[in-house]
């Protein structure tokens, strides 16, 4: 299960979902269809875009607001997720990509050897040439 989770996180880092997951821990406002507004701390967004929040205030039009300690929203009802102003979108995405795709030297514990490196220099030397010898004729 943890492998699936890791794979999902890594793949999602190139999508909108990946960016939204970076907002975890931020206080955001989420607008729901029907004029409902939720302000709370993002806990998690799953692969289906269902959102979990904590310390939420839900305000509905003409009704008294309700405070939740935990709230889970179905994705199909979300109209907007407001990104806090202090978040730099591009920088957040960059950092997320960096975290998800670390250079081999940065991996704590060494990491796994990659497939294409295993073959080594011998393999590289014996590869067929990129262009045949009579390319320029």
């Amino acid at each position: 299960m943890s492998n699936l989770n890791r794979k999902y996180k890594k793949e999602s880092c190139r999508t909108l979902l990946g960016f939204l997951r970076c907002l975890a821990g931020q206080r955001t406002q989420i607008d729901i269809y029907g004029g409902i507004m939720l302000v709370g701390v993002l806990v998690d967004i799953d692969v289906n875009h269902n959102i979990q929040l904590s310390q939420v205030t839900m305000s509905r039009p003409l009704q008294r607001p309700i405070s939740f300690t935990r709230l889970c929203i179905r994705y199909s009802n979300v109209r907007y997720i407001r990104v806090p102003d202090e978040i730099d979108v591009i920088e957040t995405i960059r950092q997320d990509l960096r975290k998800m795709n670390p250079k081999p030297s940065e991996i704590f514990g060494g990491g796994q050897k990659k497939m294409h490196v295993r073959k080594g220099r011998e393999y590289e030397k014996n590869l067929p040439p990129l262009r045949p010898d009579n390319y320029h004729y």
């Binding site: 029907g34 409902i36 289906n48 939420v56 039009p61 309700i66 935990r70 889970c72 179905r74 990509l97």
Partner: protein, 225 residues
Amino acid sequence: MPSILNTITYPSEYIRQQYSLVKAYLEDEYLGQGNLCVSENQLVWAVTSNETERAGISIDYPSLTMHGIVTHDPKYPEEHLVVVVQKAKEDEEDDENSENHQDNGDQQRSDSPVEYDSIRTVNYRFVMATSEDLKIAYQNIAECQALHPDPLDDMVEDDEVGSDIDYGEEDENNQNGNGNGNGNEHNDDDDPYGYNAHFASSNQELRGSHFTSRRRGQHDDQGII
């Protein structure tokens, strides 16, 4: 017994958890004490009874807008689970409790004429027997809800790795000589959003961005960033 309760069939299979001694409230009206059953197909609260057909509430997960735990509420001293359910518009006239909703609905319609997609929601509150029950129920409902994605949303998936789905079905092979292999789509009838141009793997090389300069599925190189 309030007449709001319908006669429902208590689920007998795919049950994740059942909780007893659960008090239920619909908006501010007390419905009684009974069993809450979190099954994979629906969320059911019903009065305690041995029969399969009981008075209660049955909530389908696709209409379950949100659910959460409330600890501090002026009207309800105990912490409880709140389930917000989307109401179908036809139910509004029949529902006795709808006078609040209709007033709000009318005001909503007059205040914001653009809200054509405004949904009507109702609150159910469930007071569980213990705090642990509450947390586990919240978790179970969240998991079961994740099992019910909307069917039409398959068309608007993100560009996830591995989703080389061919969206242009109809006359694609007839109208385009090479089917998906064609880089330029002259005829957009079967592919109005240009999905073929983006998702077909043979077209990936044509895009110049870093994210697609190598084969999909490989995250080995970090790229320029």
